[in-house]
């Protein structure tokens, strides 16, 4: 195998230059190294060359998505994370419409039917009666406060639906799961994690009987 002729191949940047020639191309302590010696041989973003030797613009799309150099890999990882975030954004929007549809279905639902809870004489002051309203899966309680007022709330805590326990002597309703407290008179949260007041059960006294007639949901 013969050596390539001078001038045929690319010039070797390490080739010594004549130190007597004063040129701007000289660098280094001795002034004998050409400037090109310190220049990177390739752009930092394309360190690894494709095996077929063609440029990156001519490579198939899959090679762009499975890079070898970490700078390119960082780009692909961030792009895929952005894609995932847009999917998450779509999920939140779907969730908003799901809430909307649920509200439409509930609005078109049946009206609540009044339900007898107990006779008035069966509930002395400070006593508690439990019942379900409007369905059998909605536990509620009725309290006759020391002042004689009838108060009824849903028994599901607005935090995580644990059963709350009324304490007429303290004037509070206690949720033992996460130490949540509600005011007995209003049902509003006064301590702990519950975010909303307890749903109030609207009552009606018809003759000697107490009836549950409606559920009042509240945000404050």
């Amino acid at each position: 195998m013969s050596e390539p002729e001078h001038g045929d191949a690319m010039p070797d940047p390490r080739e010594p230059v004549d130190p007597r020639i004063d040129t701007m191309a000289r660098e280094g302590l001795t002034g004998t190294a050409p400037q090109s010696l310190y220049q990177p041989l390739a752009a930092s973003e394309h360190i690894t060359r494709p095996p077929d030797g063609r440029s990156m613009d001519e490579q198939p799309a899959w090679r762009m998505d499975f890079p070898i150099d970490w700078t390119q890999d960082l780009h692909v990882a961030r792009r895929d994370f952005t894609k995932f975030m847009v999917l998450t954004s779509g999920a939140f929007t779907a969730g908003q419409f799901w809430i909307g549809l649920k509200s439409l279905l509930e609005a078109a639902g049946e009206r609540l039917i009044p339900k007898r809870i107990a006779a008035l004489v069966e509930i002395p002051e400070g006593s508690i009666v439990t019942f379900t309203y409007p369905t059998d899966h909605d536990p509620c309680f009725l309290v006759r406060s020391p002042s004689g007022r009838l108060i009824a709330f849903s028994q599901k805590c607005t935090h995580l639906s644990c059963s709350v326990l009324p304490r007429p002597a303290d004037g509070t309703i206690h949720c033992p799961c996460h130490e949540g407290y509600f005011d007995l008179e209003t049902g509003r949260p006064i301590a702990g994690p519950p975010p909303r007041p307890l749903p109030r059960i609207a009552l009606e006294v018809r003759g000697d009987d107490i009836y549950a007639v409606d559920v009042e949901l509240r945000t404050t």
Binding site: T82, M85, R196, E216
Partner: protein
């Protein structure tokens, strides 16, 4: 078609887009929790305006992602 940006430039653009997308997603998360709280509390007046705002956020995010893929396309 020749790429208008180098890979390094596109990584910078991507970082900017990612910031916007994250901001919008956090906004949507807040909107979703606030709407859920309002719905469970019986205040249904905010549901559809919140859904419209969330849709706007999704459209913006989708547009940013489209732009990202457009500048990646080489041919």
């Amino acid at each position: 078609m020749r790429r208008p940006f180098t890979r390094e430039q596109r990584t910078t653009i991507l970082a900017g887009i990612l910031c916007f997308v994250l901001l919008l997603v956090v906004l949507q998360l807040w909107l979703f929790t606030a709407t859920m709280n309002a719905y469970l509390g019986g205040d249904w007046s905010v549901i559809w305006p919140a859904a419209a705002a969330s849709t706007l956020g999704l459209v913006l995010n989708r547009g940013l992602l489209r732009y990202l893929y457009r500048i990646e396309r080489t041919r």
